[in-house]
């Protein structure tokens, strides 16, 4: 064997040994510094509606997701409704249960908070109540709701001393519009019904969005 061939072999062997050593270091570090996390919590949290409304008696959606992972019931989320319960039941492999009425009823239509701005006295109480920071304003200044950020959780309605916050249905726009089919008069089978409203549903993507 010529010296050139030997040099190449030595170079390859040294690089491979070096790489194997570094791989070993990283592998050791991955085991040694393993972060204990529960991936199921994130999956559950992704299914919850992220309204942060607290109707489930937990301070937000993530704490409720952690509680579900530890065996809490899955039917305590009124904003998510039947669609969320069904999705959670599929994920966790348990039977879906009807919504627990103790935690509130499911809304027919998604709503958004609107402040009647002439009547607002600028007390900032709704700002403190809002779990998603969707209300803008300062003390003794008019407040207003950022409609895109509002999750429709109703938490700001109660604290308002002058009752100037209305919950109005979300305006239909290109993002939330879906095709209304003419009623045919034919009885639909159960799986064709919208899981949240019990109405016939015609846009499969809309259903997925509702479940996710």
């Amino acid at each position: 064997m010529s010296t050139a061939v030997i040099a190449i072999i030595v170079a390859v062997v040294v690089l491979v040994v070096l790489a194997a050593f570094f791989g070993g270091v990283l592998g050791f570090a991955a085991v040694r510094f393993k972060v204990e996390g529960n991936p199921i919590v994130d999956q559950i949290n992704n299914l919850l509606p992220q309204t942060q409304c607290g109707q489930c008696s937990y301070p937000g959606c993530k704490p409720y997701a952690e509680a579900i992972a530890n065996g809490e019931k899955i039917n305590k989320c009124p904003p998510g409704g039947e669609g969320t319960i069904q999705a959670l039941a599929d994920l966790l492999g348990v039977d879906p249960e009807p919504l627990d009425a103790e935690h509130g009823a499911e809304k027919d239509v998604p709503t958004v908070a609107v402040i009647r701005e002439d009547e607002c006295i600028g007390c900032t109480k709704c700002i403190q109540a809002c779990p998603v920071d969707a209300i803008l304003g300062a003390a003794k200044q008019m407040h207003t709701v950022i409609a895109d950020e509002c999750t429709g959780c109703d938490l700001c309605v109660e604290p308002c001393p002058v009752d100037c916050i209305d919950m109005v249905p979300v305006a239909r726009d290109t993002g939330s519009w879906y095709w209304q089919a003419p009623t045919s008069g034919v009885e639909l089978i159960a799986t064709d019904k919208h899981p949240a409203t019990g109405q016939p549903q015609h846009d499969p993507s809309d259903d997925q969005r509702g479940a996710a």
Partner: protein, 193 residues
């Protein structure tokens, strides 16, 4: 002792890696929008750069030179840097979740920071010893952090200033960086090394 001090002054001010040698420009422009992120990036880079210059010195002098493989230094150093960054990321994630959240995406980004590879290669080129290598890497990183923080502070002010429309955004940032580079050239001749 004076030599070590000179290395530090040289790398931090006179031969600043970003503004005089023009290495590591991508994070310099990319993550200098906010002062907080700039400080985070500076801290992460300081840690990784110092550690990487030590490791690459060891690899070069105790593995590559004995086997007469000096021509493999670039690929070996890239491997060393990637491992150091990966290891640091895992260690920080475990030991200090708060710091991990602050540094966030910047940690893995350091892998592609050319200043890190530049320091490792320049250490070889300048025949630096072990302690000198550490100081050279540390000084380069401190210089990088210093410039990052200064530049981010300026950009925060420029963001609210009345900049003419054609110069808004990246354009004024480039001009600012150029002016900073000119200013740092004023340090030339402070020390000769």
């Amino acid at each position: 002792m004076t030599d070590y001090l000179l290395i530090l002054v040289s790398t931090i001010l006179v031969n600043n890696f970003v503004l005089v040698q023009f290495l590591g420009l991508c994070p310099f422009m990319g993550v200098s929008n906010k002062l907080e992120t700039a400080i985070g990036m500076g801290a992460a880079t300081t840690f990784v750069l110092t550690l990487a210059s030590v490791c690459s010195y060891l690899v070069y002098n105790y593995i590559l030179l004995p086997f007469d493989l000096a021509y493999l230094k670039t690929i070996s150093f890239i491997m060393v840097i990637a491992v150091v960054v990966g290891f640091t990321e895992m260690a920080i994630r475990k030991t200090s979740p708060l710091l991990y959240r602050v540094l966030g995406i910047f940690l893995p980004l350091i892998t592609t920071n050319c200043a890190v590879l530049g320091v490792a290669l320049l250490n070889i080129k300048r025949d630096n010893g072990f302690v000198e290598s550490i100081l050279y890497g540390f000084g380069a990183a401190v210089g990088f952090s210093l410039v990052m923080v200064l530049f981010a502070a300026m950009r925060e002010r420029i963001a609210v200033a009345d900049v003419p429309k054609p110069f808004q955004g990246s354009a004024i940032a480039m001009i600012t960086a150029g002016l900073m580079s000119l200013a740092f050239m004023g340090f030339t001749g402070l020390v000769s090394i």
